[in-house]
């Protein structure tokens, strides 16, 4: 089963400790286990653009789509046997500790 990981900041998480952020080790392990499919860090949310068409007019605003304190810092796509394995994999991602990670199953379009 494929899961999308929303890797988000969290003001209530542990303070970030760069030496304890082993994202490189995590990615290497998940590639080896054939779980890691895609993923990347994102540039800060204040560089985001939100795009809307209203009454056929293009409206482009700066910043993310929602004014949340938990902004998205990165994403991942993992392929797991089931939700339990996805939780195990996600729990060892450094941002589970320094932020929060939402798992969402894919819902492929037909055809």
């Amino acid at each position: 089963m494929k899961y999308f990981m929303f890797i988000a900041e969290d003001p209530n998480a542990d303070p970030y400790v760069p030496e304890e952020d082993d994202i490189v080790g995590w990615v290497h392990e998940m590639v080896e286990r054939d779980i890691d499919r895609e993923g990347d860090r994102l540039q800060p949310a204040d560089r985001a653009r939100t795009v809307r068409i209203r009454n056929d007019e293009l409206i482009v605003t700066e910043g993310p789509f929602t004014e949340s304190r938990e902004v998205i810092a990165g994403y991942g796509v993992i392929e797991c046997a089931d939700l339990d394995e996805a939780i195990e994999v996600t729990s060892r991602h450094p941002m589970a500790r320094f932020g929060r990670i939402e798992l969402r199953p894919f819902w492929p379009f037909e055809g």
Binding site: K2, F4, A13, V27, D40, Q43, R49, V51, I87
Partner: protein
């Protein structure tokens, strides 16, 4: 550079009209131009699982990472020269009309860049 489009709902957008949803054509056009990387629709936030570790303990709860009226319904990753091109492409996605699209530039981690 890769840009990630977070395709979100918007309660203030015009009502969804299936006959104007040409997302298949949108993807096909980008594929033919060699700039489409990957993307998909996602299950709704009711099916989300939130994973955190706090003080060394694993916390697993149901629901999305943020309590917002708007939620992300899908994503696309495209290869563009700059933010202006990414915004132009996002503006032609049908969900720019029926929702809203957040455009974010990737920021690859150096040690992982292949």
């Amino acid at each position: 550079m890769e840009y990630i489009l977070f395709v979100a709902t918007d309660p203030e957008a015009e009502p969804y009209d299936e006959t104007k949803d040409n997302v298949g054509e949108w993807v096909a056009d980008l594929q033919s131009r060699g700039i489409y990387r990957h993307g998909d629709r996602l299950r709704p936030p009711e099916d989300a699982t939130l994973v955190r570790t706090r003080g060394g303990e694993l916390l697993v709860t149901d629901g999305p990472f943020t309590e917002s009226k708007e939620w992300i319904a899908g994503y696309d990753v495209i290869e563009c020269v700059d933010m202006d091109e990414a915004v132009e492409i996002a503006s032609r996605h049908p969900m720019a009309r029926f929702g809203r699209i957040e455009v974010r530039a990737a920021w690859p981690i150096e040690e992982l860049a292949s």
